[in-house]
């Protein structure tokens, strides 16, 4: 059953590719870490296309190389083989058109929320006035109005992570990479953040690559869910999520949602890995 649906999914993806522009192209990408104990393969050759404005979620068991994939796309580590092309340009260093959200907010404790969000503007030497305007809009969008001049430690975990999402968006990148951004939050905050992220995606039209542990989160947010196999990771399957947008939390109980989540979960049970 899963193989037939997989074929259908792939075909649909190909059709879509002709319509929308490909923004991120991953070609034969693999990564092997060199350690003292020898080479540790982290990522088996992966091919993946991500289209402009698409929301792609990557799920997989711990240590399957999800984060490695993200760091490769972010240009933070060099690939062992293969290449990543973003907007026609091969990634050899961190691309300018990318914003990253990490698992922890990594806000600077000595900077106010606003100055934290403005950090990329300062570092990149961009025009301050126009980006300040943008930062303030983002703050409003993220529901942080009134907290601009607070320090990170005065904010709750969810608010800190929202601030770090604003920081990733402040220089108006086309692509936002998120590495388990809500992993450290409690379940209820996490659901709220999922709604917020959906809204931000809708309002900004960014291309988002989200790495996550949570299958419901992936299904809820993504246009496509990439399922990765155990270490060394490779793409086990890609699922289209045809649920209508905007999605509401109640939809998590719907039959279509549950069926897709069950199907994705099936990959991990089949591999004997519960995550």
């Amino acid at each position: 059953m899963s193989s037939t649906s997989l074929r259908i999914v792939r075909e649909e993806a190909r059709q879509e590719a002709s319509v929308r522009q490909r923004l991120i192209e991953i070609r034969g990408l693999s990564k092997t870490y060199r350690t003292r104990d020898g080479d540790v393969p982290s990522l088996r050759p992966i091919d993946l296309d991500i289209h402009d404005g698409e929301f792609v979620a990557v799920v997989g068991p711990s240590g399957c190389g999800k984060s490695t994939l993200l760091k490769l796309v972010a240009g933070l580590i060099p690939p062992s083989k293969g290449e990543i092309v973003i907007d026609g340009k091969r990634v050899v260093e961190p691309p300018d058109d990318v914003g990253i959200v990490f698992q922890s907010p990594v806000l600077l404790a000595w900077r106010s929320v606003l100055r934290n969000i403005m950090l990329p503007v300062e570092v990149r030497g961009l025009d301050r006035a126009s980006h300040l305007e943008r930062a303030k809009k983002l703050i409003a969008t993220a529901g942080l109005s009134g907290f601009e001049n607070k320090y990170p430690w005065q904010l709750s975990g969810g608010m800190q992570q929202r601030a770090s999402i604003c920081r990733a968006l402040v220089h108006d990148p086309k692509i936002v990479l998120m590495d388990e951004p809500f992993g450290a939050l409690d379940a209820m905050t996490r659901e709220r953040m999922n709604l917020e992220l959906q809204r931000i995606h809708f309002e900004t039209g960014k291309t988002i690559l989200l790495i996550t542990h949570s299958i419901p989160e992936a299904v809820f947010l993504a246009d496509r869910v990439v399922v990765m196999s155990e270490r060394p990771g490779s793409v086990a399957a890609i699922y289209d999520v045809d649920l209508p947008r905007p999605r509401r939390l109640e939809m998590m109980g719907d039959a279509a949602f549950a069926a897709l989540a069950r199907q994705i979960r099936g990959h991990f049970y089949a591999q004997g890995q519960l995550d």
Binding site: A74, L76, V106, V123, S156
Partner: protein, 280 residues
């Protein structure tokens, strides 16, 4: 914070004494002073009860007398000691912080330098202090060097710790923004290391006082260390105790100044926070 503890204090106190009580009991300097007073009383009682002769332990009253007669002179002697301490301390900061940066920033520098630094710390400064006198003669120089040698190590250790404790994600963030090395250092590394550096500086400033006195022990004809040396030789114990108290005061005041500077420079750190958390 003050209002709540004031509330507790006043609940116990009678209505008449409420205002004085709350103000006095809760100011931060009252408690250590109260303890000090208790210690002085205990000291006085011990000396009297056990009939300890004055050439072993003088009574507090004798020490106060020593302050009366020799207070001016002692304060004069405190000046060179303070100068040597401050100079040695500033030198520790000026050399220790960049050195910590180098050690934290480069594995090569660390592998060459760090073991030697630890090794050098195991050499007792008191033992080599006479050498400085031989090299630099009597006067300020050997004291400053002794203060520096004692003071610099905690700054380096704390600084290395501080510079190294930047998280991996933080480095990734800096690299993703294409921050230059200088930007990464100025915007992330240095501020991040500041709380640790100040912890080191606080230890350093108290050790610098010790270093200055060690320098004065071996080669000086002025300073509190010199007074200590001379008064113990002459069995002038009250003078010696008075000198010790002045020395302690120098340490306390310098520590307090560093603490004050810290409050200005790292008001954001957990140890300096006084506001209530926002929870939404």
């Amino acid at each position: 914070m003050p209002s709540s503890s004031r509330g507790e204090g006043s609940a116990r106190a009678s209505i008449g004494a409420r205002f004085i009580n709350s103000r006095l009991l809760n100011s931060p300097w009252v408690r250590p002073l109260a303890l000090l007073a208790l210690i002085v009383v205990g000291w006085d009682l011990t000396v009297r009860l056990f009939h300890i002769p004055a050439y072993l332990i003088p009574t507090p009253w004798d020490v106060i007398q020593a302050f009366r007669t020799e207070g001016d002179k002692l304060l004069m002697e405190a000046v060179p000691t303070t100068i040597a301490t401050v100079a040695g301390f500033l030198l520790s900061a000026a050399i220790g912080i960049p050195l910590a940066m180098l050690i934290a920033g480069s594995k090569t520098v660390e592998s060459y330098l760090y073991p030697l630094l630890v090794f050098s710390q195991s050499i007792p400064k008191v033992a080599i202090a006479p050498l400085f006198v031989v090299w630099f003669g009597f006067g300020m120089m050997p004291k400053v060097i002794a203060a520096f040698l004692l003071g610099v190590f905690p700054v380096i250790v704390a600084g290395v710790q501080g510079f190294k404790s930047v998280e991996g994600d933080m480095h990734d963030l800096a690299r993703a923004m294409k921050a230059t090395r200088l930007q990464t250092f100025a915007m992330i590394g240095l501020p991040h290391a500041m709380p640790a550096i100040f912890a080191g500086l606080k230890v350093s400033v108290t050790l610098a006082v010790v270093g200055a006195v060690v320098g004065e022990f071996v080669g000086a004809n002025s300073g509190i260390g010199y007074v200590l040396q001379r008064s113990i030789g002459n069995f002038e114990l009250p003078t010696m105790f008075a000198a010790l108290i002045i020395l302690a005061m120098i340490g306390v005041i310098l520590f307090w100044i560093v603490d004050l500077v810290e409050r200005f420079m790292v008001p954001w750190h957990a140890s300096q926070r006084h506001e209530v958390l926002v929870t939404t």
